[in-house]
Symmetry: C2
Subunit: 102 residues, 2 copies
């Protein structure tokens, strides 16, 4: 195939896909997303379950919010986070399944 005959990806698509995979590439964010795919959680619960500092979790949640992968609702002083992108969860589940069965 010649250069001009290739099926190229749009630059915006490449950047978008890269953002999604970057989000999934970090073990901490993977754990957070996997946890939130099982149940809605508040921040300190995530921190406790994953054994991380509140600050570290909050920073990662901020990143996931920016990418619109999670959303939250407030209940008093507490914020409950949950997944906001089923497609990304589907990619995560597939990758996990594949890694588990090999």
């Amino acid at each position: 195939m010649k250069t001009e005959d290739h099926s190229f990806l749009d630059g915006r698509v490449i950047e978008e896909v890269s953002r999604i995979f970057k989000a999934l590439a970090d073990p901490t964010r993977m754990k957070i997303l996997y946890l939130l795919s099982q149940e809605e959680c508040h921040v300190s619960h995530i921190a406790e379950v994953l054994g991380m500092s509140q600050s570290a979790v909050s920073h990662q949640l901020a990143l996931l919010r920016t990418l619109r992968l999670v959303k939250y609702r407030r209940e008093g002083k507490t914020l409950f986070y949950s997944c906001d992108d089923e497609h990304v969860i589907s990619l995560l589940r597939q990758a996990i399944d594949h890694a588990q069965h090999q």
Copy 2:
């Protein structure tokens, strides 16, 4: 749910999945893998098509080899690379499709 009631991921699975997503998270590697999913290519062809230096491509191919995502065969002085993990290509295609239709 209490901490001990969560379905946790095995550390090895987390690391493995993280490695896969890290590989897919870089635009350059995405382009290389997407290209190789279309046809077997030699190194300088990849470099030309993607507008990158031979060295940069070779470094990324070395990384993808380490992860067993690509393989190669030699023909004289030339090395022909191709994909060696259909599952990862499947994840990539799904993410691309999703990004394109939104």
